[in-house]
Symmetry: C2
């Protein structure tokens, strides 16, 4: 999504842009195969699923899964199921979060949200279907001995003490006074947990040792939190065209955000600090972790 | 749920009642361990999940999973993750189906539905959480080599070409003219697919050969369809107290049902025919399949 046109001299950024572009093409081809065609019954449901997942997202989570697999000596093919699964889960969470009963959003990735096009019932069921496919595809990991650990990591990151729990905290926190601690708690679950799972499960699918999986989990927690801080900042500063969704929604809904509790400048510094800490986790992995390092920089410097 | 007081002379029925009672106690203990306590954050979410899953259902799907495992020489412990998972999936589907955007039901198992008590947002997220736990628990099957097949069976039965797809067909069919073929298509997906998966995945978790898994799948498809036919009949004939939900809803919503397209008497005969065909699938399995035979009879003769 980032055009990468500004500051062409910064090497790691262009590295991440190229890596994201390649991994997006790869995961899109895998998703194309993993999901039924629009012509398969029930056609409305499969159209809604494809409308939502092929909507031009950055595919950051799959890229992290692939880079994590590479960082421990594995391949993109090893991590393909994880890449598909985390993107399916991310997409299902957006569909459900956008529903009138939840955040009630009309615009997502520059287009009308799933329920605006297909209605609430189909949107709920599309999300349910995507979540189910996510685990179906995880069970096809080539390293079969890694499957239980991969599923545990993804389920933990996306369940009631992860992403789903974070959405509850977020809804319950609306309109209430927020503190740095309460904002961090929401963001760790709502956003960082699935990003963490992408890194950990990607590594496990690539044959990671327990020690390596732990390093990747730590890396993921830090860039996951940095990602959400930058998201909060962009919601205040970016244009709707760049953002692809309605900006200023957080402020309007009195959402708990980092800029709201510490101001934009301190929030930027916190994102930088987390990026540096994430990179430090990668040292033991050596040169194979270069793409993860590039992606950490991308997370903090992105403009959309 | 069935008191088993009438027709005490019918041996297989009392066999099924006792089996269901034992397996319900077993799966409830497993679910108790697999799900976070109500005191764990986010407490509202975990309360809503426990409110919905510990609501006194028959636990037919877990019982089928256990009986299928036994029929191939496995144990209840082997099939415990499958029993938990199919009940979690069944419960999540009820929570989502009852939402105002879907079937809009106020009463379930004799109590206010999840969204009536906790609100629509928490109901959506409770369903999402339960579906996620279902796959997390499947990844803990003792026979690790069976996990990919178990997950494939459960995901297929509960996904867009199974239970979720069936709910779409059901919603799209409301108010339209139904035929025997269209009703059968809806019921095969909406209800029979998850019952089929309970049998097939239960068998696989108990060490079934491919041939045995196929027999159990065939058995499941037949009793799954019979189960829904009996459900349609009970919706027309049972009292709300016996049923634990609002009867006559199908008629009111102009739902496609078996009694609507073939009348109650022919629908009863069709359920009987399917039960006999299901039992025939079990012959090659011998005496170990006795509980499955009892459960087939229970499915057709139950009063609630």
């Amino acid at each position: 999504m980032s055009s990468g046109s500004e500051q062409a001299g910064v090497k790691p950024k262009s590295g991440a842009a190229a890596y994201l572009e390649r991994s997006r093409a790869f995961v899109d081809a895998c998703l194309e195969k993993a999901l039924p065609p629009e012509t398969a019954a029930p056609t409305t449901l499969h159209k809604a699923i494809r409308y939502s997942i092929f909507a031009g997202g950055k595919r950051l989570r799959p890229a992290l899964a692939f880079a994590a697999a590479e960082a421990v000596g594995g391949s993109w093919d090893d991590a393909a199921p994880v890449g598909c699964a985390v993107e399916m889960i991310h997409t299902y969470s957006l569909i459900h979060d956008d529903l009138p009963a939840m955040d009630d959003d009309d615009l997502r990735r520059g287009r009308p949200t799933c329920h605006k096009v297909f209605g609430d019932a189909i949107a709920i069921l599309s999300g349910d279907g995507l979540l189910t496919y996510a685990f179906e595809v995880l069970a096809t990991c080539r390293r079969t001995e890694a499957i239980p650990g991969v599923i545990k990591a993804v389920a933990t990151g996306s369940g009631t003490v992860g992403m789903v729990g974070g959405q509850v905290l977020d809804l319950e926190g609306e309109g209430k006074p927020a503190t740095e601690a309460s904002v961090a708690a929401i963001h760790r679950w709502k956003t960082a947990a699935l990003i963490t799972a992408s890194c950990e499960a990607g590594a496990l699918s690539g044959g990671a040792s327990l020690k390596e999986a732990e390093l990747l989990r730590n890396y993921g927690q830090k860039i996951g939190l940095a990602f959400q801080i930058v998201d909060d900042i962009l919601d205040l500063t970016a244009s709707p065209e760049t953002l692809g969704k309605t900006p200023g929604k957080d402020l309007q809904a009195q959402k708990a955000t980092y800029p709201a509790v510490m101001g934009i400048e301190r929030a930027k510094l916190e994102a930088q600090r987390l990026m540096d800490a994430a990179k430090a986790e990668l040292q033991a992995l050596g040169a194979r972790a270069q793409h993860l390092e590039d992606l950490a920089l991308f997370v903090v410097e992105r403009k959309s």
